[in-house]
């Protein structure tokens, strides 16, 4: 049994400061103040509270405001019974600051890597039903902006069927929006904008772009990009509040360079098995690049990103399409001239389809 003198004590009931002696009996202790004796208290219940100037302050679990304030050098046999002071917090104190910094830095680097690469790993895990529902929620009937005529629908259906083995789980629509763009969205939705159809000189050109977007759907790039966007929003601690910017982002949902290459490969393969000449797509890309300076700039002014800003054009991309031509192969046009005219003029014919966006972007 040993006793220590002159320890300041608050009982947590009243603000009166007491000078007490600590009497240690095994794993317990008593507090003596003149004739009064309180306790026993278990050392196991003692918790480190804070450093107060030079003094270490201890509390007692379950006793609000109960304090033992030890200032000056604490005898080593008492010190051994009291909990260690807290400096940086649990883990850091246990590891030591140097090791903790290294461990945290490595963990952080791993976490950043997971956020950057997890979309590829997570996207296949998202069930189709979720993908479909998300697509319906985002696209719906596009505010009545989809164009339909019997002949135009038939032409589009033929084009899709020639480019994909399972056209029933794709939903390809033409939107009455004068914009040089095409997008793949969740739920197998692919939207061709009327502006793109108007710019195209042959159905082969549209086929290449369409097959590229179908490639994004089939390779599950859409969900990856969406996850990446959401993940980044979460990591950066907020979502951009600007509605125009968000819709714009959705339209320009950018894919990685890798994904673009995969979609191009998918497109070339689909064109090949449909016996459609890939040279049309190559020349279309070429013209898009020239247009980008004039018309594309105008489009950007109203806050809508053009196809090229989401699909950066490189010479190698165009070359790849040109090189995928197989000599001697029996290529045929993607659509007959009359089918092509019907598709191209579908939005002009469909009076019921609403045009433009009908809401303010900025």
């Amino acid at each position: 049994m040993s006793t220590f003198f002159d320890v300041a004590h608050y009982d947590g009931q009243k603000a009166v400061k007491r000078k007490v002696e600590v009497q240690v009996v095994g794993p317990q202790f008593y507090l003596l103040e003149n004739e009064r004796c309180t306790g026993p208290f278990a050392f196991a219940d003692v918790a480190y509270v804070t450093k107060q100037g030079e003094a270490d302050v201890y509390g007692l679990t379950g006793h609000d405001g109960w304090r033992l304030i030890l200032s000056g050098p604490v005898p080593s046999d008492l010190k051994g019974l009291l909990p260690a002071p807290r400096r940086y917090g649990g883990w850091v104190d246990r590891l030591g600051i140097g090791k903790a910094v290294i461990a945290f830095a490595l963990t952080s680097a791993a976490a950043v890597a997971v956020v950057l690469f997890s979309p590829q790993w997570l996207a296949p895990l998202i069930p189709d039903s979720v993908d479909d529902r998300l697509g319906d929620a985002l696209v719906g009937d596009f505010g009545g902006r989809f164009c339909h005529t019997p002949a135009g629908d038939a032409a589009l259906q033929k084009l899709v069927a020639s480019l994909d083995d399972a056209p029933q789980d794709l939903r390809v629509e033409v939107a009455n929006i004068d914009m040089l763009n095409a997008v793949a969205l969740p739920g197998g939705n692919v939207i061709l904008f009327d502006g793109l159809l108007k710019q195209a000189r042959s159905p082969d050109e549209v086929a290449g772009v369409l097959a590229h977007e179908i490639g994004h759907v089939r390779e599950r790039h859409v969900m990856q990009a969406l996850l990446r966007q959401m993940g980044l929003a979460v990591v950066l601690g907020g979502v951009d509040g600007n509605k125009g910017a968000m819709v714009n982002n959705l339209l320009a949902m950018s894919y990685s360079r890798n994904a673009e290459a995969e979609a191009d490969a998918h497109s070339m393969q689909a064109l090949g098995s449909a016996n459609i000449l890939p040279v049309g797509t190559a020349s279309f890309f070429d013209r898009l690049a020239q247009l980008d300076g004039s018309e594309g700039a105008v489009k950007d002014n109203i806050g809508i990103t053009s196809y090229l800003s989401s699909h950066p054009l490189s010479a190698s991309r165009k070359d790849a399409f040109e090189k995928s031509i197989v000599k001697g192969k029996n290529y045929k046009p993607a659509l007959t001239p009359s089918e092509w005219t019907e598709l191209k003029t579908m939005c002009a014919q469909d009076r019921k389809a609403k045009s433009g966006f009908g809401f303010d972007f900025n």
Partner: protein, 362 residues
């Protein structure tokens, strides 16, 4: 010695030094960086432990008992219960705009804005409650039994009412909300009473309110008198242009200097009135910083941040606390025997959900 008569020196004294604080702040900065910001909750806690522990009230140190884990858990809960639903709502309203339903999207966004508005008010209340419940003096703490839900509503309608008459009632709203907040708080067995007046603030508020207008009128009058004395613009020629340029620069400078100055002038009065209306049982409080002190304080802060290329930012909590404590004053007497433990609830898991919205000091 149970009746603590306040001495001639201030009831509040601060013994900290910036060198000591630096030994806390720099490791905090390092740990915060390597943990991608997660350590900041523990960093805040360590800084407060130091600042509170170096602050005397009458004859005893203050004690900060909040824990980093509490803030962290609060943050996670806020993220799961508020942040995540908000991201989903953002996505949904984005989809609604996409589908041409901007009205519905607008309503959804408005509802989101309203709930954020409400939660901000709640957060102010909860932050104050959290700080009081974690602040001990002589083993006694503060707190409140009011969860603050009612205050959240008051915050909404009083803020809006303050804005409605061309923002002229803002001082009323600020003071009224301050009083509401503090009237719900207590320390030990005693309830705070706050009855600060708002009308004495109006003179300085109007000054702040009229500064842009006065500068504009001043510039116009000056310009006109120049034109009148200088004759025709032709005769003035180059000098006229130069004078005009100088005038514009002076007006812009006046705007950027006068406006913050007027704002500080108002804020210093606001804080003096607000603290001056505060009572705790037999104690009265005073905040003695005048406008000049605030101006010098801010200029020094700016100088420190600029001269250290931004690193000085980590000393701002120290400077703020020091400024606050050194200008606080209390009058009256405390009966230590009467000061018994607070019976207010302390949530077991540290604190409830919204204390993580740890917004500004009192």
């Amino acid at each position: 010695m149970n009746n603590e008569q306040l001495q001639t020196h201030s009831a509040f004294r601060f013994h900290g030094s910036w060198q000591e604080f630096a030994r806390i702040a720099f490791p905090n900065l390092l740990l915060t960086i390597v943990t991608l910001g997660i350590y900041r909750f523990w960093a805040t806690t360590r800084e407060r432990e130091y600042l509170w522990g170096k602050t005397d009230f009458i004859d005893e140190r203050l004690e900060w008992t909040g824990r980093g884990m509490e803030l962290f858990i609060g943050f996670i809960m806020v993220f799961l219960l508020i942040g995540l639903p908000f991201i989903v709502i953002q996505l949904v309203s984005q989809g609604l705009i996409f589908q041409g339903l901007p009205v519905l999207a607008g309503l959804l966004t408005f509802a989101m804005f309203l709930s954020l508005f409400y939660l901000t008010g709640l957060a102010y209340f909860r932050a104050l409650r959290y700080r009081l419940s974690r602040t001990y003096w002589r083993g006694i703490r503060g707190g409140s039994d009011d969860p603050g839900f009612q205050y959240g509503l008051s915050y909404m309608w009083k803020t809006v009412l303050g804005w409605l008459p061309l923002f002229l009632m803002v001082p009323w709203a600020m003071i009224s909300l301050w009083n509401d907040r503090w009237n719900a708080m207590s320390f030990g067995p005693h309830r705070f009473s706050a009855n600060a007046q708002w009308t004495p603030l109006m003179k300085r508020y109007l000054l702040f309110y009229l500064v842009p207008f006065l500068i504009f009128v001043g510039a116009v009058i000056f310009g006109m008198s120049m034109a009148a004395s200088g004759g025709t613009p032709d005769a003035l020629g180059g000098t006229g242009m130069a004078v005009g340029g100088v005038l514009a620069i002076v007006a812009v400078l006046a705007f950027y200097i006068m406006l913050p100055l007027a704002a500080l002038l108002f804020y210093s009065k606001y804080f003096r009135m607000a603290v001056g209306g505060l009572r705790l049982h037999t104690l009265e409080f005073e905040f003695r910083a005048r406008a000049v002190d605030w101006v010098l304080f801010f200029l020094a802060n700016m100088a420190i941040i600029i001269c250290t290329l931004g690193i000085g930012y980590i000393f701002m909590p120290y400077r703020n606390w020091k400024f606050f404590v050194e200008h606080m004053e209390a009058y009256g007497e405390i009966n230590i025997d009467e000061l018994t433990q607070s019976q207010t609830v302390v949530e077991k898991h540290g604190e409830g959900l919204l204390d993580a919205f740890d917004v500004g000091a009192i």
